[in-house]
Symmetry: C2
Subunit: 194 residues, 2 copies
């Protein structure tokens, strides 16, 4: 689809690119929680409506700013909507399919590497996982230790990413997704339904 770019000089960033760049700086400087779409719009010198028009929600803008093709929250909502039954296996299947895809693996690897080395990145990742991932799962789980169990699920999934994609420990690194889901799914299910 051809996009009309009237008035834009070659080499000048589009409004969308300007918002992404500003968002990256804002999330890095203030973390995920303290950054708002309105604040990003102000810093970029654009109307807040434009930010919403291009990116919809904060979690989506965060994901796009990191180079991800979509926000994980939509996927998580979809997975959780089908209920707790079999959720362990479904979580592993979806998580592994996202990481197995080189186009999403690359920005995720960069994100984890950055979070492990820099506290500013760690803060954003911590807040995003806490609010948008573990928070959604905890709400579904309920009970006094719902948040602990939800973050323990996160520990299993991100540990899988650490050993399979970063350290590339065998046989974890080359096991096919189906076998992986059947092995890791039931352990995660233990946190979900006991």
């Amino acid at each position: 689809m051809a996009v009309k770019r009237s008035g834009r000089r070659p080499g000048q960033p589009t409004t969308r690119e300007l918002i992404l760049k500003t968002a990256r700086q804002a999330f890095a400087a203030s973390g995920y929680s303290a950054t708002s779409l309105r604040g990003i719009a102000r810093a970029a010198g654009v109307d807040p409506g434009l930010v919403v028009h291009y990116f919809g929600t904060k979690d989506n803008l965060f994901a796009r700013a990191l180079g991800l093709p979509l926000s994980p929250t939509a996927l998580i909502d979809q997975l959780l909507a089908a209920g707790l039954d079999g959720l362990g296996e479904r979580l592993v299947r979806t998580f592994v399919s996202i990481w197995d895809d080189p186009s999403t693996r690359a920005p995720l690897l960069a994100l984890i590497r950055s979070a492990v080395s820099h506290e500013e990145s760690a803060a954003s990742v911590r807040q995003f996982i806490g609010e948008e991932m573990a928070g959604r799962l905890a709400a579904l789980l309920g009970g006094p230790d719902a948040h602990l169990r939800a973050t323990a699920v996160g520990a299993q999934l991100f540990g899988l990413a650490l050993l399979r994609y970063i350290l590339q420990l065998e046989p974890l690194a080359s096991t096919d997704p189906d076998q992986l889901a059947k092995t890791v799914g039931p352990a995660i299910q233990r946190y979900l339904t006991g």
Copy 2:
């Protein structure tokens, strides 16, 4: 205890320090598997018997070279010797007690940060976890998928380290070790005894 250091000029490294320095360089250059005590002795220009005298085994020298007070393999052997029953909880308790101790946490954090960013470190860590940690557990588990299950246990434990100590995600970061063992232990037990 006063140690007699005859013939050593001030500022000159002791033989023990020389071996540690040489070992760090050897593990970094060749990884854990391809490095031998004999090769380290040769590179340091000392008798192989001296390396054994100071450090005993390769896994112990590796741990000491990283600044750890002892090799995790002795602890693992101790844990595994008590059998599979309740091993999930015992693994979490021991893993968390090592990471909760600031003097062991510091070198472990440095190791994980280095492994996540540098392939040479990743190779050593991958080989050490594979041979000395997951390998020992897999031998106890038995069965065709023993190694996969053993590395999945590793993924849960190192994921816990990633989220509790590096990303510091709540409530995982501040939950007391006992509660943590009771929550994560049964999920790990799922890999061990189904």
